[in-house]
Symmetry: C3
Subunit: 370 residues, 3 copies
Amino acid sequence: MPATTLHQLAALIGGRVVGDASLRISGIAPIREAAAGQITFLSNPRYVDELLSTRASAVILGPRHEGAEGPAHLARIITDDPYYGMSQVIRHFHDRPFQPTGISPLASIGQGVSMGREVSIHPFVVVGDRAVIGDRVTLAPGCYVGEDAVIGEESWLYPNVTVRERVRLGRRVIIHSGTVVGSDGFGYAFHQGEHRKIPQVGTVVIEDDVELGANVSVDRATLGQTVIGRGTKVDNLVQIAHNVTIGERSIIVAQAGISGSTTLGKGVVLAGQVGVVGHLTIGDGVRVGAQSGVAQNVPAGQDLSGSPAIAHRQWLAVQATLPLLPDIRRRLHRLEEDLHALQRQIERPRRAAKPGQAARRRAAKRSKRA
Amino acid sequence: MPATTLHQLAALIGGRVVGDASLRISGIAPIREAAAGQITFLSNPRYVDELLSTRASAVILGPRHEGAEGPAHLARIITDDPYYGMSQVIRHFHDRPFQPTGISPLASIGQGVSMGREVSIHPFVVVGDRAVIGDRVTLAPGCYVGEDAVIGEESWLYPNVTVRERVRLGRRVIIHSGTVVGSDGFGYAFHQGEHRKIPQVGTVVIEDDVELGANVSVDRATLGQTVIGRGTKVDNLVQIAHNVTIGERSIIVAQAGISGSTTLGKGVVLAGQVGVVGHLTIGDGVRVGAQSGVAQNVPAGQDLSGSPAIAHRQWLAVQATLPLLPDIRRRLHRLEEDLHALQRQIERPRRAAKPGQAARRRAAKRSKRA
Amino acid sequence: MPATTLHQLAALIGGRVVGDASLRISGIAPIREAAAGQITFLSNPRYVDELLSTRASAVILGPRHEGAEGPAHLARIITDDPYYGMSQVIRHFHDRPFQPTGISPLASIGQGVSMGREVSIHPFVVVGDRAVIGDRVTLAPGCYVGEDAVIGEESWLYPNVTVRERVRLGRRVIIHSGTVVGSDGFGYAFHQGEHRKIPQVGTVVIEDDVELGANVSVDRATLGQTVIGRGTKVDNLVQIAHNVTIGERSIIVAQAGISGSTTLGKGVVLAGQVGVVGHLTIGDGVRVGAQSGVAQNVPAGQDLSGSPAIAHRQWLAVQATLPLLPDIRRRLHRLEEDLHALQRQIERPRRAAKPGQAARRRAAKRSKRA
């Protein structure tokens, strides 16, 4: 990749140059690691102080950081979305044209397979009978595509991915290594003292532009289908149970788990290690904080945290108070003592306690476990 | 599969027909997705309202929902266990006879392997030296069976399963893709500033009728064996550490983890994302709620929740109170102020505070961090 | 392996014999499972009572358990570190010399690969173009090593491991089955209503003597590298996101997850199912309790627990109080009532409530939601 001028990069990402627009840029790197001749980027304000010591020749940043302090020589591209701009510049320097490698003689292709054009089918891939492989699909080494499965065009399966029988992937789906799509749902009927397996005869539909991380599990439906909607991105080690439906453009972060028959709306965000119980409906745009457990239906647009999850704002208040709990207990105990002392003080001179009050005081004493 | 009469299906599942028993049924589908000519089922009362709009011709349901409202034409099979009945009907329509495919010429079979009859050994399978493969075993593409391992008859390993050396699987064991049985336990002795690996020379025993989900990890024992008892079912992405013993007919839901040397009894249920620390004994029939953390031995029959886990009933009470914690803190603060005001009010006219009381009041004031 | 005298084993582990040093020992086994002629060990005091019923002929234990009760015939080796001693004895009885099997004709080796001496490259392994495979490396069946990747000498990849392009492993690295190193980081820029993939063009560096468990995911950096430091041990099903750096000799227990761009120091311990959010710095020697969630930078040497994590000692106090929360609420309610009663009792005779006090009392009444 030949060097590119700052002017060209600014044009690419729709930005504006501050500094020498004829500067030649050889690549992109993080603030700390960038060398002279490279461009870097600032999208997370947390790193603004690191700009001062960067060796990069230029930086991509947003309007609000346009004047951030940096070395005198540092040229700038100002753009509304520096994160997306950074992404475009990476693509500019690193994208290589797709080069199909054809069908390896070491792959095993079943009968009646419909094979697209310009595919890359690598060694030790198995494609089951009657599967449909779209144009420009890549099946990396060790991938398995079951009978009657469909892999949409330009989809890319990294090494050792398993796509079971009848599963359907849309176009431009990316699946990372170790991921399993279409394993049996976890369903048993407890009958006469044993867990009897309920046959899982449904399937999985993965829509266009979905990406699944590494070592994800997506179970096939008991009947019907498990669905991951268009443009949804799933991180590593996520569990998606049978008959789950995830709407479009959702984000499921690593190690989250969604139990059976739950439906997520569009644009839902589950942070890392979140769990959602089964048979729920989670509305559009709901966001759930890391490690939370969702146990009830959630209307659209809510932010939740905690296990069990409550409104995020309320959760923040509870979390701020929680460390004070031992102190609260001590103060409560002291109040009980002080109040009791006061009651005695008042009653003694009057010698006229209301009936029942002494009994209540004794009960209060018994309950003082602090 | 030819259509079957409602009468035949009722006989199959031990149910009773309400409606036209001669109705011909072509398949089974969920309430919302079923078409005319199909049968559906109602096992979760949550979905009873959906019956009204089903297009199914018949429904399987329990005695308590016998009269549930539905379309006029809807025939019914009443049975005590509609979930199990549904399962039998799925099997009726979908089970195909086992057809062994033999040993693929693209598989790699070691020396001295004992190979059962009617096996299906698919391409790119490796079977190590001296392994024992039972009758009617299926090893799907990409599976690895290590040296001296034993795979009991009618067991089924889905694509890309790893069974390490000397591991023993019972009969009718099902293992889903990406699962690893017999990886080294996580054991190190910290010696002279380094974590020194403790050789993990034990093994794993998986008893009859166990099912392991996708991307599960079951570590081999340091010495001795890790054991999963007969009929136990393990969901996806579960961690089972070295020297764990799980009793019969237990249920381990997705993303749960059991630490080393812990013993679970029979019929234990760990819900999703539960963690159990090492060297514990969990009694028969214990049930642990989702995302809980078990850090102590648990007697048989208990229900636990929370992290650290407490009795489920107690946990419910705590969880109901937790969102009120900020309010509790405010009320406590107000009480302290009111009580203090009252103390002053009483003492002023008397001018006879008990010795030490003023000092205590000052201390209370200092502790008021609310 | 021929039998070994107790004297020889004591010399091996630097211990001292109590009993018959000429005793011949045939192997090592856990306390409950050991047979006559075998040695066992006691490192966890939890099991000291089991010594009484062991059938082992000898036991390895520490000075503080030298006099632990056991059968009369039981000989002893006393050593300062019985756990490490046990480990050495296992190695003595079980280690087999490394026997390279060469390059299987069923493996697929790319162009320009630098292949070390005495390697074991098993069937259905793929080694990409220009990869560097060190001396005495083992690549078990189904492993994938991408283009330009480097596998340091004496490293061992168990079956079905995926090491993506350009990843670099140090020497003596062990990776268990199903683990993926170098999958794309989870990075998207939300632009014009869609999550646009940010190309992940960095890599992963795994330093010497690292061990990764089964079904682990280590993502490659967006730019730069994800790093796991020398001697660090990672358990099963752990998530390590893009641009994470883990220092030397750390311990990451099963199902923990570390989010993007977070840096862990040396000797950090994350217990099982811990989550750490992104862009944090966790100091040397920090230890985090099971299921905790770390959401802030942590100075060196701290012990944390909880989600969100707080100082472990403080967390213990909170956890001890938490089950009392419903009781605290009840006591608070009673106090409010009692104080109110007292206020009325005092005010009635005087008929001279301070201005505003009555209003406050009404407000207090409104807030009594208990």
